[in-house]
Amino acid sequence: MKPVSDGAPLRPDLRRSRLRDLRHLLLYAAARLLALLATVVVGVYLTILVANMGGQVDQLRLVQIRSEVVEAVRADPAFFDMPGEERNALVERQVALEVERLRLDQPFMVRSLDYLRRALSLDLGRAEQMHSDRGSREVRDIIVERLPATLLLFGSANLLVFFTAVFAALHLSRRYGSALDRTVIALAPSSAAPGWFYGIFLILLFAFLFPLLPAGGMVTAPPPEGRLAYAASLTRHMLLPVAAMFLSSIFVSIYSWRTFFLIHSSEDYVEMARAKGLSSRRIERRYILRPTLAPIITSFLLMLIGLWSGAIILEQVFNWPGLGSLLFQAIGHRDTPVIIGGVVIFAYLLAATVFLLDFLYALLDPRVRVRGGRP
């Protein structure tokens, strides 16, 4: 396998075929992008409808606004001597102001379309009740503040699981049937339990029975001065949640990768390479990993998709200030803009992942490339 593109002039027909490949690839990507965009629009709109119970939440909110305003006016000593009628007028005025602020005076369908337009352009609006730790009411600020925590935790855990699993599986597939191999197979069913479940036990073990690690949170309070101390505290807090996720998925990942590699290493061309006497390292790289790259990447990205949705409970259990716990709090506050904002971010992240998946697939799998723009 010599690189063909560098230096040496390409033969014209080869160049033409490369151009054709590229054109097909771009067409394919564009078609996928359009389709995904439509998908995101539909998905986000559905979310908006669910989050508002088709407009019914607004009725609840109207009642709530009225009672809050009445309560505030009654409790304010400044209005004690006000005659009844005037006070009622004041209440009406304040309710109207609040309704206008929350734009409840417009019909729900109009607002839902407006929500959709703004959500898609990532103009997420202002939160109704919640605010970011810095005090900003902008949904975008609230989410941006939480996103790094989620990315850090889940990114590191999943990368760790993925690479450990793939390399351990390669190793095991060579020593198929060994004691270690059998142990991993026997342990695979342990992955039936999700990460938070192991999290509970890890907290019990390492935070309460042997108080070595913190039971939750992201850094110690107050946050330590200095970058190194901060990083050290962060690492200590990350150990348990990462370990929980690692435990819950490592064995089944190794198991499935091992099976996958075993199937592929019994292909004829691998046998052929072995017969030629190539080194096992070379066989692994060229004859097993390269042809299986597309499915490996697929499963990596599918894992990423799974990661977004699994976040809420693990973050709750470990009190991790990420996107998942934000969403949970927002739902508790019935803060529609934050809920929609959070779900929109989820949807975008998922869509980006799916697009990446399609695109990489097209790059890696010649069959997709040749078929061109047809999905």
Binding site: T39, V40, A51, R334
Partner: protein, 450 residues
């Protein structure tokens, strides 16, 4: 088909994990079937709602067997009822005087966890009066004060602050059972338990010649039953027992609902092709973008947390799941198989081809993934409950975990409260996963040769 089936069974028998898995599942199914027989559905809900019916149970007591296995002799709960005791009656004009000695032996290794006296005096024209006297094994007598009784009275001796002060700052259920200590020991503040025969003597004055006075002294233990109790005195065994059928039903229905519908839809798409297939594909993609758990949380908070609604939403979101893509890939080559052509030639309808010819072909391949899917849904229900979105009425494992978490069970050392539901969840997960993995190796021809 039957020959293949018996072969499959024999094949499965070669895997110890499959046998273990099936044994676990059988036990769970047995428990699930026994639960409604032991406690009917309505009664289980009624009892789990809590309240007075649990008043003879201790708060946060550990299971008995845990303590006994560890070699301890922590006290269990005892109820000493007045009706079992010979009362001394002295009538006087317009009423009678009653002396009721409620005695019991306390020979455990620890103090009781609480002390309550329940008195029922129904049908009295004037409220009776009762004076309490505590007798210790070494002959001391401690007056516990007097009470004018209503129809139903609960005298919380443990909550008596004045008594606590008199006992030198010890909670009454400890102070009343402690040996008398000299000044120095008392300063040290570690009370020592005194075993032997204790008594609570009720001296009642009743202004009625006939009307009864029922008394029940409850000496709450520190251990209870096979599963312990929670913060509302409810026996956890009820929730653990009833959690089994709920978990299995939820897992099974959700797995069947999602797998079958997904399969049928994938087959329909493959068979009709064209726009039907395109619509199904696009719907699947929309569904892939919708985050399942946030939507479930949203539905739970905004609408209702009824377990059946949750189940419906799970199935609904699962219909157009990513599985459609996998099934589609499996079904595409089948569509072109000669036997389908033969069916078409004899004039089989579209529906018949899809249901009778295409689906049965890939069902065996799906059995393992179906089996491994069940615990996923069992854990999903638990996850929702842990988030506080459990069914408001049904006792489930997840709700026990949620209660434990909200009461900081681990921090307070009530390990059993977390471990027992978690263990059951784990057992369910392991049982189905072990069977599923073994089935995978049996049914998947590519794996079998390995």
């Amino acid at each position: 088909m039957s020959a293949w089936r018996s072969g499959g069974w024999r094949e499965l028998g070669r895997y110890p994990s499959a046998i273990t898995g099936m044994a676990i599942i059988l036990v769970l199914v047995g428990v699930a079937l026994a639960a409604p027989l032991a406690v009917p559905y309505g009664e289980a809900l009624e009892r789990w709602r809590g309240g007075e019916r649990w008043q003879h149970h201790p708060v946060n007591a550990a299971p008995v067997w845990v303590d006994r296995l560890a070699g301890g002799r922590a006290p269990t709960t005892r109820v000493i009822a007045g009706r079992d005791v010979q009362a001394e009656v002295h009538p006087f004009p317009g009423g009678r005087r009653l002396t009721l000695p409620l005695t019991f032996d306390h020979d455990f290794d620890d103090f009781p966890s609480e002390l309550n006296l329940f008195l029922t005096a129904e049908g009295h024209a004037r409220p009776p009066f009762v004076r309490l006297l505590w007798q210790t094994p070494d002959g001391r007598e401690i007056p516990l004060g007097g009470h004018r009784l209503g129809e139903r009275e609960r005298i919380s001796i443990s909550q008596d602050r004045a008594l606590e002060r008199r006992l030198g700052g010890l909670a009454p259920h400890i102070g009343l059972f402690a040996a008398e200590q000299a000044g120095a020991e008392r300063e040290a503040g570690v009370p020592t338990l005194q075993t032997g025969r204790y008594g609570l003597v009720l001296e009642a004055v009743l202004f009625d010649a006939e009307a009864p006075l029922e008394a029940e002294l409850v000496v709450y233990g520190r251990v209870h039953g096979i599963a312990g109790t929670d913060h509302q005195r409810r026996a956890l065994s009820l929730a653990l027992l009833w959690g089994t059928p709920v978990a299995l039903a939820f897992g099974l229905i959700a797995a069947v609902g999602t797998t079958l519908t997904t399969l049928v839809i994938a087959a329909v798409g493959v068979w009709y092709r064209g726009w039907v297939d395109a619509v199904i594909q696009r719907l699947t993609e929309v569904n892939m973008i919708l985050p399942v758990l946030p939507i479930l949380v949203m539905v739970g908070t905004l609408y209702s947390t009824s377990i059946w609604l949750m189940l419906g939403v799970v199935v609904l979101l699962g219909i157009f799941s990513a599985g459609i893509k996998t099934y589609r890939a499996m079904l595409l080559p089948i569509r072109e198989a000669p036997y389908i052509e033969a069916a078409r030639a004899y004039g089989a309808s579209n529906l018949r081809i899809v249901m009778r010819y295409m689906l049965p072909r890939i069902l065996p391949v799906l059995v393992p993934s179906f089996v491994t899917l069940i615990p996923t849904f069992v854990f999903l229900e638990a996850s929702l409950a842990v988030l506080g979105l459990g069914d408001p009425e049904l006792p489930t494992w997840g709700k026990v975990l949620n209660d434990a978490q909200s009461q900081s069970a681990l921090y307070n050392g009530y390990v059993y409260w977390v471990v027992s539901p978690a263990l059951l969840l784990m057992l369910t997960g392991l049982g189905f996963a072990m069977l599923g993995f073994a089935l995978d190796r049996v049914f998947n021809p590519r794996l079998r040769s390995l």
